[in-house]
Each structure stands twice: as structure tokens, then as C-alpha cells.
């Protein structure tokens, strides 16, 4: 009985110790909080521009709330927003995405990572993005329409990445870890484009994935394009599914979908006695469509696929070596790259007689 009572007392103490007010002087319902779910940061001279957006509340027929403010630091920019906003209180604990404008990404990245790591509110595994060719403010305040905003679009992008690659876009923790370690990190890049849907006032802006930014220290060294993602996955041993157009020697264009491949790494001894890195990539793909119809031979298709994968992989390796930034984790040893690919099936149409 005493043990039971002790457990009850301990359990009763926990909420108070965890910060729950038992007798709150200022009662505040959840509906009085503005739950910020995406943030954007841009640098304009000495000031940081902070944008915040909430998700739409479809149950109450309310669209997303979009806020923006500026200050010499992120905390002051947030205070600026809180002062000028009619919202009762901003809750940033559930921020699920942070965007950086391209022009200021290098300069603001360190400050943002520092703020996220120190923050009591923000999670360290929040995904970080760089908006190519625009400011984060533009993306957060103008993407979407009255019904949905940037949060819903970013959630959809994150869910799609999870389904396709089996992992979320690189998080602040991962980027901070890379920056604190060898200094080189990849950050998911986005761009703004016109959505397929038309809004009441015309075109609607939407956010699209646009490769990865290669960042070291406070500099963006370059970008990997969206078409490089397949080679990136293969070289890093990630398990993504990609669609790839292939042009065969006879001019025929075949679109294939690759299954998650496997990458085997091992150290080799070269004839000169030095060590080289052996990378053996193997994957299979299925045919999605053949332009102009017709029949594709599996052998020719497999060879074209191997050639295309090798070309793409070597392009990334050359980029890594030329930038001197080991974003592929391959080091600087000589590389022996081999690719084997096969066509697993050709859909519901039999190509072979």
C-alpha cells in the first residue's frame, strides 16, 4: 500500500516539476496560441528577416497565418513579430521546417544552427532548406493561397521524400553535426514555381524540390541538381526510388524506374601497392514507358542504364574532387567504380516475343 501511495505521489509531482502550472494565474487555451510550423530566415544587411507561418485550420475554415519581422538577431526579430502581431502568443515548439533564402543562406546558416541547438523550443531534428533564387520570406508569405500555405506544401514535400527515399530532408542536427565535424554538409534545396492549380487571383506559388546545396562553413560551394539525386543515393548507399529517362543507341527514349540499389564499398590494393576505394553499385529498374511505343531489348536497355548511372556517378565524384568537399564521404583515395544494372521487368507489356 505504501509503495502504491508513493508511486501515486511521484506521478502527481511529475507534471508540476515538468512545468505544468497547477494553479495558473493566466489561463490560456490552445486555441489562443498561434502554432508556428515553418520559419524562414533571410539576411538584409545587418538585420535578419524572420518569417513565420502556421498551418491552415480547415476545421474552423481559417487559412494560414503569415507573419514577418526583422531585427539584428533571430530573438529580436521574433520579438518584433510578437510585438506587432495581433496573435496572443506565438508557440514555436512545433516548428517543422526552417527555410533560408539563397542570398543569405551562407551568412545566416551559422546563426540559425546556433539558435536551433541552443533553443529550448525548437527541435534539433527540424529539416532545413535553402530556397534557390529567392528569399525565404517570399516562399513562406506568398506560397499557397487562402486555404493552404507553405506549411502544407513543405509537409507534403517531406512526406514525399520520406516515401521515396526512406528519410526526411537533412535536419538541423545533421547539418550542425557535419559542420562541427568535417565542415561539409548537404542541405535540401527548394524553388518557387507556379502551381498546376489556379487560384481565384490567378497563379498560385508552390514549393518544389530542387536538389541539394553543398555547404561548407558559411559558404554555398555549389548545388546538386534534382537529376543528381539518383547518383547521390547510390554513392552514399541510400535507398531511394527514382525515375530516369534513357536514350538508346537507336534514338529510342525509354523511361525506367529504379528500385533501391545496393552499394558495396571495400578497400582495394592497387598494382602500385597503394590503397584504392572500390565501389560496386548494383540496381534493377523497370520500364515505365517507351516513347513512340515499340520494343526495347533488355540487354541494350541494361547497358544504357549502366552507362547512364556511371556517367552520373562520375560527374558527382568529379564535382566532389574539384570542390575539395567530401559531401559523398568517399575520401580522397583513388576510386574504382563499377556499376551493374538490369531490367527486372517491363511492366505489363511483354517486350520480348
Amino acid at each position: 500500500m505504501r509503495r502504491f501511495l508513493s508511486i501515486i505521489i511521484i506521478a502527481a509531482l511529475l507534471p508540476g516539476l515538468a512545468g505544468c502550472a497547477l494553479f495558473p494565474a493566466k489561463k490560456q487555451g490552445v486555441e489562443q496560441l498561434l502554432v508556428v510550423q515553418a520559419m524562414g530566415v533571410d539576411r538584409e544587411g545587418p538585420r535578419l528577416v524572420l518569417s513565420m507561418v502556421s498551418a491552415a485550420d480547415s476545421s474552423r475554415g481559417e487559412g494560414p497565418v503569415r507573419l514577418s519581422g526583422s531585427g539584428p538577431t533571430l530573438a529580436q526579430a521574433q520579438r518584433d513579430i510578437a510585438l506587432r502581431s495581433t496573435e496572443e502568443e506565438l508557440l514555436c515548439a512545433h516548428t517543422g521546417h526552417i527555410l533560408l533564402g539563397e542570398d543569405s543562406a551562407g551568412a545566416a546558416l551559422g546563426e540559425v544552427l546556433d539558435a536551433v541547438c541552443r533553443s529550448r523550443e525548437l527541435r534539433m531534428d527540424v529539416p532545413l532548406y535553402i530556397l534557390r533564387g529567392g528569399s525565404a520570406e517570399l516562399a513562406l508569405l506568398h506560397a499557397g493561397d487562402e486555404r493552404i500555405g507553405a506549411v502544407e506544401q513543405l509537409d507534403a514535400l517531406s512526406a514525399a521524400a520520406m516515401a521515396r527515399d526512406g528519410e526526411k530532408p537533412p535536419s538541423a542536427a545533421r547539418i550542425a553535426a557535419a559542420q562541427a565535424g568535417d565542415g561539409c554538409a548537404l542541405i535540401a534545396a527548394l524553388r518557387c514555381a507556379e502551381a498546376a492549380e489556379q487560384g481565384e487571383d490567378g497563379a498560385v506559388l508552390t514549393l518544389l524540390p530542387d536538389g541539394r546545396a553543398i555547404v561548407r562553413g558559411g559558404d554555398i560551394l555549389g548545388y546538386l541538381e534534382q537529376e543528381d539525386m539518383l547518383a547521390l543515393d547510390l554513392l552514399r548507399g541510400a535507398r531511394g526510388v527514382h525515375t530516369l529517362p534513357l536514350t538508346l543507341p537507336d534514338g529510342q527514349t525509354v523511361t525506367v524506374q529504379t528500385a533501391p540499389g545496393s552499394t558495396r564499398r571495400r578497400l582495394l590494393r592497387t598494382e602500385a601497392g597503394s590503397r584504392a576505394l572500390g565501389l560496386e553499385i548494383s540496381l534493377s529498374a523497370s520500364v515505365l514507358e517507351i516513347r513512340g511505343g515499340g520494343v526495347a531489348e533488355d540487354g541494350a536497355l541494361g547497358a544504357a542504364l549502366e552507362q547512364e548511372l556511371l556517367r552520373r556517378a562520375l560527374r558527382l565524384v568529379r564535382l566532389q574532387r574539384s570542390l575539395g568537399a567530401d559531401f559523398l564521404g568517399l575520401g580522397d583515395r583513388p576510386l574504382h567504380l563499377t556499376v551493374s544494372a538490369r531490367i527486372s521487368h517491363t511492366g505489363d507489356l511483354r517486350d520480348a516475343p
Partner: protein
């Protein structure tokens, strides 16, 4: 519920009390010293810790029935030297209790109650611990058994649900990646950090020995328990380095609580760090209560009063609480100083007491034939 305690209860209490310094100190210090090899440090420390346990066991089995550390010190060193030794040991226990008070307040401030002055948490915890210290070591051990299941389960759940965030490259670099091999000096510093904890476990166990049932200590089970705790330390370190990388882990003040902040259960429950931080109040509470009580026993033994027959113990307990309070309020006015203390003075003092001070006293007692 009274009477002597069993070894599994003693082990449980030691485990619970070690959980607080284990989360505070080891992950970041070992990651800073040994980088991605930090988990190895925990495993490498098992052998020296086992050796220490065996030596301690050989000496401590000479204690008389019901004799605690303070009485053992007085028997080993008679006269003024013994009184001084007991007083110094009591002082160190008060300093450590004061440090735990301040460190626990810092954790609550960082995670749950920002901008709150630490004095509020320090005084509240001190009063609660002071009340518990009057209950005796047996009562504290039994209280620890109540809390161990909750703390252990929480730790296990956090480690399990964080597995998905581990970047395996941070731990096991793929073949061919440029990886620095571990440096001997770094590994040694990491092992020392782990030893600080494991020897601390042996020391805390020693403080509780007077309550253990006669002949109830099995060295084999003691060693197994040490090894299991080292394994938990290794797993904890590996998971943190896997999630944050060694360089970032070394920079974070409380990497474990940063990990908890990232947890999401079944895509619906998240942000439970306040509850976990609150749970970690209890190990602090038990350490402070035990160290205050033991400090008071040392002070009483030093003053020469006979145990329990005079009013010396309550006065000594009040004195120890005052010393701990003064240390907690003055030693670390800010978080930066606290971090420095946590990484320098406190582990160094611990190792000094456990590896030099205590063995020297017991050694002197053995040489003179008093033990």
C-alpha cells in the same frame, strides 16, 4: 519495510544515483576526448573498475557489523589524523551534494523553467533531501527501488525510439572513408571519465554498505553490475554520437535531453523532454540525501561524538546542509562556470577521493593492523 538491504537493492540504488552524473558528464566529455571512439571508453573502463572493486572488497570485508565509511575511517586512523580525514571526507560529500543541487537546478532551468533563478530549485531540493536524510540509508535505498523502474524504462524507451535518428556513418565510417584513428591520450581521458562514474558507483555502494545484510555481497554480481552499467554508458554514448556526431555531442551541454527533445512516438506524441527532465530530479534527490547523511556521519565521527547517542548528528546534518547550500549558491553563478566545474573540479575531486584519499586511509589502517 525496515531491516538490512539486499545486494540487488544496493545495486539498484547505485544505478539510479549514477544516472544523473552519467547523463551530465560522460557523453560530452568522452566525445570531446575520444571522438567517435567514445563508446569504447566505457567498455575499456570495466577492467580497472573491476580491479578497484576487488581491492575495495578485500578491505571492506574487514569492516565490523553496521560499520559505515565514517566509522571505518576513524578506526583506520585513530586520533587527530582520523578526525581530520573524516572531516575532509564529509566536506567533499557536502561539496558534491552542493554541486548536484546546482546542476539539477541548471537542468530544470534549461529545459523547463527558463529565466528562473536557481536558488528556488536549490533550496526546495535541499529541504526535501534534508527531510529524507533523516530517514536513514535503508529508506533511501527503498525509495530508489521505486524510482529505478521509471527511470530505467524511460532511458530504454528514449534509446529505442531514437534509433531511427542514428546516422550510422557517424559511428562506423564506411570502408575507405578518411577516419582519424583514436589517439591514446584521448582514449585515456575518455576512460577516465567513465572510470569516474564506475568508481563513483563503487564509492556510493560503499556508503550504503552499513545497511547491507551480513555476508550479502557477492563480488561476482558486483562486477556484473559494473559491466552492465558500462555497457549502458557505451550504448548511450554510441546513440548520441550516432545522432549528433562526436563534434556536436562534445559541444552540447545536455546531449541526452536534446535527444529527448527530438523524440516522436508513433507520429503523435512529442516534446516529452520536460517530463523526462522532471523524472531526473529523483536521482539528484537521492544523491543529495545520501551524501548529506553520510557527510553528517563523517562530521559526527570527526567531532568524536558517539553515534546516535548525542545531538551531534542533527547538528552535523544541519551543518552539512548549510555547507552544500553555500557551495550550490556561490560556486557557479552561471552555466558556463557550472560546465567548467562539471568537467574539471568535480571529476578530479571524485577521482582524488576514490583513488588516493580513501585507499590511503584504508591502506594505513591495514598496515597498522587496525582493520
Amino acid at each position: 519495510m525496515s531491516g538490512p538491504i539486499r545486494q540487488n537493492q544496493l545495486t539498484g540504488a547505485v544505478w539510479l544515483m549514477l544516472l544523473s552524473p552519467a547523463l551530465r558528464l560522460f557523453p560530452s566529455v568522452s566525445a570531446e576526448a575520444a571522438g567517435r571512439w567514445a563508446p569504447l571508453c566505457a567498455l575499456l573502463s570495466v577492467l580497472p573498475a573491476g580491479l578497484y572493486l576487488a581491492l575495495a572488497r578485500r578491505v571492506l570485508k574487514r569492516r565490523l557489523r553496521g560499520e559505515g565509511v565514517s566509522e571505518l575511517v576513524r578506526r583506520a586512523l585513530p586520533g587527530r589524523r582520523g578526525r581530520m580525514a573524516a572531516l575532509l571526507l564529509g566536506l567533499w560529500l557536502c561539496v558534491y551534494a552542493g554541486f548536484i543541487l546546482r546542476s539539477g537546478a541548471d537542468r530544470l532551468i534549461l529545459a523547463v523553467y527558463p529565466e528562473t533563478p536557481p536558488v528556488f530549485f536549490i533550496v526546495t531540493m535541499l529541504l526535501a533531501a534534508l527531510f529524507a536524510a533523516t530517514a536513514g540509508e535503508g529508506g533511501l535505498v527503498r525509495a530508489a527501488m521505486l524510482l529505478l523502474a521509471a527511470a530505467g524504462l524511460t532511458l530504454a524507451v528514449v534509446l529505442l525510439f531514437s534509433l531511427g535518428s542514428v546516422q550510422w556513418d557517424n559511428l562506423l565510417p564506411p570502408p575507405g572513408a578518411a577516419v582519424k584513428p583514436p589517439e591514446a591520450a584521448g582514449l585515456a581521458r575518455g576512460v577516465l571519465a567513465a572510470l569516474d562514474l564506475l568508481l563513483g558507483g563503487v564509492f556510493v555502494g560503499t556508503l550504503l554498505l552499513s545497511e547491507l545484510e551480513p555476508g550479502g555481497f557477492s563480488p561476482g554480481r558486483g562486477f556484473l553490475s559494473l559491466s552492465a552499467f558500462a555497457l549502458v554508458l557505451g550504448l548511450l554514448s554510441a546513440e548520441l554520437i550516432g545522432c549528433f556526431g562526436a563534434a556536436l555531442t562534445a559541444r552540447l551541454a545536455w546531449p541526452f535531453f536534446s535527444l529527448v527533445r527530438n523524440l516522436v512516438f508513433f507520429r503523435s506524441i512529442e516534446r516529452i523532454e520536460a517530463l523526462v527532465v522532471a523524472l531526473w530530479v529523483f536521482p539528484d534527490f537521492l544523491i543529495v540525501a545520501l551524501f548529506l547523511r553520510q557527510g553528517a556521519r563523517c562530521v559526527t565521527a570527526s567531532l568524536g561524538a558517539r553515534w546516535g547517542t548525542l545531538r551531534a548528528f542533527p547538528a552535523a546534518l544541519g551543518l552539512c546542509a548549510l555547507a552544500a547550500l553555500v557551495f550550490a549558491l556561490t560556486a557557479a553563478p552561471d552555466g558556463e562556470t557550472l560546465q567548467r566545474l562539471s568537467r574539471t573540479l568535480i571529476p578530479a575531486g571524485n577521482l582524488l577521493v576514490m583513488l588516493l584519499f580513501f585507499p590511503a586511509i584504508l591502506g594505513a589502517g591495514l598496515r597498522s593492523g587496525r582493520l
